[in-house]
Every structure is written in C-alpha cells, then in structure tokens.
C-alpha cells in the first residue's frame, strides 16, 4: 500500500479533522533520504492500517504547510492527533528505528 498524498486543499480534512492518528511525511522529489524512507513508511502503513494513517505531503507543491509546520529538514515525519502535532521524527531511519520512535502510535 502506498501512502496517499495530501495537499494544501485536503490537509484539513485528511489530517486535522481525521479521527485516527495521522503521520504526515513531509518530502520532496530531490531529497534522496526521503525516497529511501518512503517504502519503509508504506510498509508501516500497511502493517498498522487500523492504528495509524500515513500520508505524504510534497513540500515543493505545498510550501505553505511546510512553512506553517516550520519544516527545515526532510524527511520530517509529524504525527497528528486531533489536529495537533504530538510527535516529530526527522531524518530517514531504518524500519526498526522508526517503529521504535512511533511505538506509542502503533500499538
């Protein structure tokens, strides 16, 4: 399962008003580590679909949201609950390390 894309237009519905916990992956085409971590996030998304929604936000196409969430380094993965950021993970990490960082939202 590939994480679906969100945009400026859909962010409110898909992320802020989502009843589930949502992880937003801020990424860009030109960012090598983003491309490396993307399939790992897809795996986590399919393994924990009932607990965590994982979506991707392209910072090139949606600079407003990148600025709003003060993104200065990507990949940046932000976990949202009830519209608030509850956890930020920065940088590509191997799957076990990401799962450890996100443990509270996967169990």
């Amino acid at each position: 399962m590939t994480a679906r894309a969100v945009t400026d237009a859909t962010f409110e519905t898909e992320v802020l008003n989502n009843e589930k916990t949502v992880l937003v992956d801020f990424w860009a085409e030109w960012c090598g580590p983003c491309r490396a971590v993307s399939p790992i996030l897809d795996q986590i998304a399919s393994e924990h679909a009932e607990k965590l929604d994982i979506v991707k936000l392209n910072v090139d196409d949606n600079p407003g949201l990148a600025a709003k969430y003060q993104i200065t380094s990507i990949p940046a993965m932000k976990v949202f609950q009830k519209g608030e950021v509850v956890k930020t993970v920065i940088g590509a990490k191997p799957k076990p390390a990401l799962e450890a960082d996100l443990a509270a939202y996967l169990a």
Binding site: Q70, S73, I74
Partner: protein, 324 residues
C-alpha cells in the same frame, strides 16, 4: 551459505561487487535500508570521477554502479546489518529484519558517518535549522542568512550549492586556510554570496524552537563573538563507521579498520575492508572504488585457498534463515 557478502553500497561496496560478480562469486550486497548508495547520494555534481567529462549527479553515478554490479549477478538487499560474527571459517551477517546470512568471506565497506560538532544544543536543534544535508534541506532556507561549518571539499560544495537558496552563506572555519581542492576554493571565493569567517570555532548554537545564531570563539585570540543565522550546515568531516566490528577487528589509531599493507586484509582471515572505513586520508569516490577492487581480488584469492568441501557448501543458492 554464500561465498561472499559485501556490506555497504557506496563506490567501494559496488566496485567490490562488480569484481566479485565477474569472478562468479555471486556476491550479496547489504546496501542499508535508508543510506543505500552511500555518501554520494547526498551530493549533486560529481566532477572528479574519471569517464564523465561533463560531470555526473551523485545519485546517478551510484545507480549506474549498482546496475553494473547487478548485470553480473550481484544481489542487493536493502537492509542494515545489526550483527556480524566474523571468527571462524563461516561468517554470519544478521540483518535488521532478523534474517541472517552465512558466507565464507565478508567485505566491510561501511563508509563513514557525518561528524557532529558535539555541542549541547546541536541535537535539540537538529531538523530545526541544524542540518548535515545541503541538498536535502537547502530549499528551506530561501533568502535566509545561513552558515556552513568546515573547510574541506564538502563544505565548499555545500556552501556553493546553498547560495542557490540563501541570501548569504558564511563559511566558518577553524583555520585561515582551506583543506578543499583549489577549484572548489576558487569557486567559493568567487561567489558574492559567500563570506568566510576565518579562525573561528562554533562554541554554541542558539535558538528556542529554531536556530537563530551561533556563538563563535576565535581560535587564535580566544575572543568570543556571535553571529545571527537562520540555519547552520555542518560539514566538518566524517568518522569511519566501525561499530559492527568493534572487538572483532583491529582498528588504527585514526579509528579506521586496520589492514595489512596495501591489501584489504583485516586481522581476521576471510574479512576484508574497503573504502572510507579503511581510509583516514584520501576518502574520494575513486579511491574508495579502487579499494573495493583490492578487497574483491583479495577475497577471491582467499576463497581459492579454502578447502573444497567448504567451497562446495557455498556453491548452492542459500535460503536466509530467520532467527527472530
């Protein structure tokens, strides 16, 4: 069981894989899950790799090396080695997934990791204005004043690249001369947006939620000063990545894996090392590639010296064992 496993997928790892594959050793390359392709994946123009007169993008060069290795039968796994057991004739390589693989020879080409400044606020502000990857993060510093710390080729490359976005780029360097190659220095000197801060050491990073500046200490006079910044890129060098082989292989005083003379032979028979992990001095894509060749040839020679019954066990395709 395999004949050979190569750990690492930078120029050393893939060149070793090309040679080993062409020797019909069917190497397994453990490429890493998020750092496959190694350091060149985060660079843009590579202008000093022979054969590319127009230059080549780092990621493209690595893709080509991988293709070349795979063309001859190398297999690539995108996972990280979490444990190595190197003693004895049969070596065991355990991956993050829990899978483990056995081989008669192992080439360690794990490269090096970005060196950190070692300051208290560095970790806290990492991703909030402190970065190690200009190509990843430069985009977020449009029209900002930022700084690059370092005096080598990577610092010059980052500084020059960052002028595409930033309004001003300081280069903070501990000495009054650069270690970078002349062409990279001249490019940086000629760039109007780049200003050098000589003989200065970053002694602190400031900012509550994001970097707003650094504290500097003059390395000659000891004077303290501050510099207002919107971002800080750290390019002060790399440390060899040896954590997997600690207490198994001897290291040099510089921290690289010790090898015998000009060979790639480590202190354990059947274990070879190549690339930045053995090289405290040159650390170029070309020297890493050359050292990967040395390792593959040394490994091939070693394998021919092994008893036939061992080699026979390694000739059939293996099934990975899962030990979770």
């Amino acid at each position: 069981m395999r004949q050979i496993i190569i750990i690492g997928s930078g120029p050393a790892g893939y060149t070793a894989a090309i040679y080993a594959a062409r020797a019909n050793l069917r190497p397994l390359v453990i490429a890493s899950s998020v750092e496959a392709g190694g350091e060149l994946m985060n660079t843009t123009d590579v202008e000093n790799f022979p054969g590319f007169p127009e230059g080549i993008q780092g990621p493209e060069l690595m893709m080509k090396m991988q293709e070349q290795a795979e063309r001859f039968g190398a297999e690539v796994v995108y996972d990280d080695v979490v444990r190595l057991e190197l003693e004895g004739a049969v070596k065991t390589v355990t991956l993050g997934s829990g899978e483990s693989h056995e081989a008669l020879a192992v080439i360690v080409a794990t490269g090096s990791a970005y060196r950190k400044l070692g300051l208290a606020d560095e970790e806290r502000l990492s991703g909030h204005g402190v970065s190690w990857c200009a190509t990843c993060d430069g985009f977020f510093f449009k029209n900002k004043t930022i700084a690059v710390v370092g005096g080598g080729d990577s610092a010059m490359e980052e500084a020059t690249f960052l002028t595409r976005f930033a309004s001003k780029v300081y280069v903070i360097h501990r000495k009054d001369t650069l270690r970078a190659s002349k062409i990279m220095q001249e490019r940086a000197f000629a760039n109007d947006k780049i200003e050098f801060v000589w003989n200065a050491e970053v002694s602190g990073i400031t900012g509550d939620d994001a970097v707003d500046g650094v504290r500097l200490r003059n390395t000659v006079s000891g004077d303290q000063s501050t510099l207002e910044l919107g971002g800080l890129f750290v390019a002060i060098g790399n440390d060899p990545r040896t954590h997997l082989v600690h207490k198994q292989l001897a290291l040099t005083p510089e921290g690289t894996i010790a090898v015998q003379g000009r060979s790639s032979r480590t202190t354990v028979a059947g274990v070879f090392a190549a690339g930045d992990v053995v090289d405290p001095t040159y650390r170029q894509a070309v020297t890493a590639a050359a050292s990967g060749t040395v390792a593959a040839l040394d490994a091939e020679h070693y394998l021919t010296s092994l008893p036939q019954d061992l080699l026979a066990q390694a000739s059939e395709p293996e099934l990975a064992t899962v030990t979770e």
